[in-house]
Symmetry: C2
Subunit: 468 residues, 2 copies
């Protein structure tokens, strides 16, 4: 298929392939999220601009490669689902709003960096630990806040995703038991699944990780790692209370479990009071903290970090060097200027004000437009909210109807560590305007209502069982 | 040890630890290359600016973590050896000269990118395949040159190192037989060693990969992959003739071996005529080409790429997404402008002129200053040259003496796929001025002469065997 080409309608393709139409719709949503397709309301789905293979003079087509590559590659093992979506209203990607990027500040500070005398050194090969001035800045900040002890060190990564990947390389062997939240960010499942971890799901309720369930998993399965996002968890948006944090840490200490805490959303609190991070509460040195600029600044600049005990960071730096030598230094230098200049703080304040309006919009819209019997989380910050539709609705079927209305989201099946979450769906509202959120949730509500009506019709047509 | 602190002299530390002094010197060289130490001529070695742990208010020191982390982390598995060295004259890192970076062009073009209307989109989350305009540009270029067929696709990576890492993830399982050059780039050994590959060394001679040896390895061991750098191989700088390229490809075809061709140095040809890449010669679709801007532009911007059959690239994109979602987009956009504007071509021409002078300097200096009986390669381009010292000299011992003279390099042991190369050493001359090269090689020659004299003295003192 060439760029710009129109894909068959989901109904048509489902018919051709003998598949359920929801399957085709879900595949389109994933492709769209990966930037391979773009949806246009009322017109259908089109191949995005990424191939350019028509009429290019090149080498002759190759001879017999397909069998070779088929034999070598086997089955794919991942799920392409990271990049942005171009649906009219897309709830599919957990990312900030592009039109709220502080471009003037970025341009001014980036110019300072490229005009500085350090520019040549920034463009030279660097250290696997990261650009030293940024590393020192982040470590100082963390020490000041109590998020790093004097025993800790810090490694810069290409966003939080690479931090997870490096941790999986260093800490996980095939069969290593790893406790994870359920539902949980699909990119985390891919990383630890790929590393061969035995994933132990711990349910997430309205108030985050269920600590009683955690205790039972820890007692019976002895996980080596617990991976958790206590603030505005992805996909549920839920937050763990301070009491629950203390309890989780105590459990980890008793069972000698290492705790990996993803803290990438904590600066995006729109209401309520913050609780200390596990890393700040932990005096036993077992907690590893992941931070990132991706959710609070510019995700296209891939800069995150890991804070943990020095021997771990040294091992992660080795793994980092094997992975890609070091992170891009221009991005690191620009983000350092952004933080040091106070512009990051200013931008965060603006983001929180805008985020509060988004949050109110999504909560009100869910209250108003989702079908009766729906349950949804009530986050106090972050970018994500989790909906559970009432039976017999399934989120993939509702997605199909929503897409016809120009709206998409990621259905629950992508977030299941064990359970399938067929009634669940994630609404990522961080990149949308309040009016878009309202319209989008209304469209999802319409799609759900139509789907419910279809169910009722079908039920009415079913033969009544004989009374015997 | 705190930043700025002086390390004990190698002699002193060797005494304290009961180790051979060459071991300590080699460790210092590796630490220096990783940016953790800096050497100052006549003053010793100092901890580089990367820790900042004195007098920082922070959380209390942690309780009992060491045992936990020791039990979890076990033994380190990598070799920290990528970043730049700060010795007075360092032959240790294969990288371009910072003071020849075209900073004016960089500043102008980077400003164009940050001021452009696309800047906000560049700062938003992107595609695992890479920044689309750069991806399309590189693919068009490759199609025009015959390095990509219409069956091929292209993925942007964080430099060539990440391309190797992703390939190892997709193509290598524990025990997979992989043919590699010997000696070979240590970062390649780390990647494929970590992935559990069974490495099959194929000797590199004066004219690159030994094709007769390759044939015998292929016949007896049936490697799944062959990884090779036909142009200016790292560490030897050697180049494979076109006849040998054809023969290697024919062998690969006969044995159904996949060929991974690293082509990151080919633009740095200072003399002689170029041969087509394996990828250009291969009509069977089994060759995967790795390219990079790191050796020819700005290594601190981590941008490389892989060209290969579409199904492989799709799998690599999945692995890329799991690794770090996507590569930094600002760096990609700046390098695209650099290439499109013609400044890359201009810079390459200047680099080739300067490289020719470097190459002449290093060859003349080796001829003149290395001890009699030394052998060294005669590259026609690239950044590296390989020396084999005559018995009984070992390169680690010579490194010790060279360091006392303010010069360092990487000894052969870091490049051995199987053989230890104890007499070998790599001279990376890409980042040095011709006068530095001359002085540096002269210092190595002096160190070798002193070491030889020491050998003779010790031999003279040895008791003569009784004649019985």
């Amino acid at each position: 298929l060439l760029a710009g080409e129109r894909l068959p309608a989901t109904r048509e393709l489902a018919g051709q392939l003998g598949l359920n139409r929801t399957t085709v719709s879900a595949a389109y949503a994933v492709l769209e999220e990966a930037g391979l397709l773009r949806g246009e309301v009322g017109r259908g789905s089109f191949v995005a601009q990424r191939k350019n293979e028509a009429n290019v003079p090149g080498a002759p087509p190759s001879g017999e490669p397909d069998a070779l590559w088929r034999s070598v590659l086997g089955e794919p093992d991942g799920l392409p689902a990271a990049a942005g979506s171009r649906a009219a209203i897309s709830f599919a990607s957990s990312r900030p709003a592009e039109d709220e990027f502080p471009m003037d500040a970025f341009r001014r500070l980036a110019r300072e960096v490229i005009d500085s005398p350090e520019a040549a050194a920034i463009l030279q090969l660097g250290s696997p630990y990261g650009y030293e001035p940024l590393r020192r800045y982040l470590l100082d900040e963390a020490r000041r806040s109590g998020a790093a002890t004097s025993e800790d060190d810090l490694l810069i990564t290409n966003g939080c995703q690479q931090a997870l990947d490096l941790l999986s390389r260093v800490l996980v062997a095939p069969g290593t038991p790893v406790a994870v939240e359920d539902p949980v960010y699909h990119g985390l499942l891919s990383v630890f699944g790929r590393a061969g971890a035995r994933l132990l799901p711990v349910p997430v309720g309205e108030h985050g990780l269920n600590v009683a369930a955690l205790e039972s998993v820890m007692a019976s399965e002895r996980p080596r790692l617990l991976i958790t996002t206590p603030n505005f968890q992805n996909p549920t948006g839920t937050t763990l209370s301070q009491a629950a944090r203390n309890a989780a840490l105590e459990l980890a200490q008793r069972t000698e479990t290492i705790v990996i805490e993803s803290d990438i959303y904590s600066d995006l609190r729109y209401e309520g009071a913050p609780a200390p991070s596990l890393k700040q509460l932990d005096s036993s040195g077992r907690t590893v903290l992941l931070g990132s600029y991706s959710k609070v600044a510019f995700p296209g600049l891939r800069v995150g970090w890991v804070i943990g005990p020095r021997p771990l960071i040294a091992r992660l730096a080795e793994a980092k060097q094997i992975s890609d030598l070091h992170s891009d230094q221009l991005a690191q230098a620009v983000l350092l200027r952004f933080a040091e200049s106070g512009e990051l703080k200013r931008h965060l304040e603006a983001t929180r004000r805008a985020g509060a309006l988004r949050l109110r919009a999504v909560l009100e819209a869910c209250e108003r437009h989702l079908p009766r019997g729906s349950r949804f989380t009530r986050p106090q910050g972050g970018m994500n909210l989790w909906v559970e539709l009432p039976a017999p609705l399934e989120s993939e079927a509702v997605l199909r109807g929503a897409e016809e209305r120009g709206v998409n989201f990621l259905p629950g099946i992508y977030f299941g560590a064990r359970r399938e979450h067929r009634r669940g769906l994630r609404l990522s509202f961080g990149g949308l305007r309040p009016q878009e959120i309202t319209r989008g949730v209304a469209a999802i509500g319409e799609a759900a209502a139509a789907e419910l009506a279809g169910h009722r019709e079908r039920a009415a047509l079913e033969p009544v069982a004989a009374l015997v």
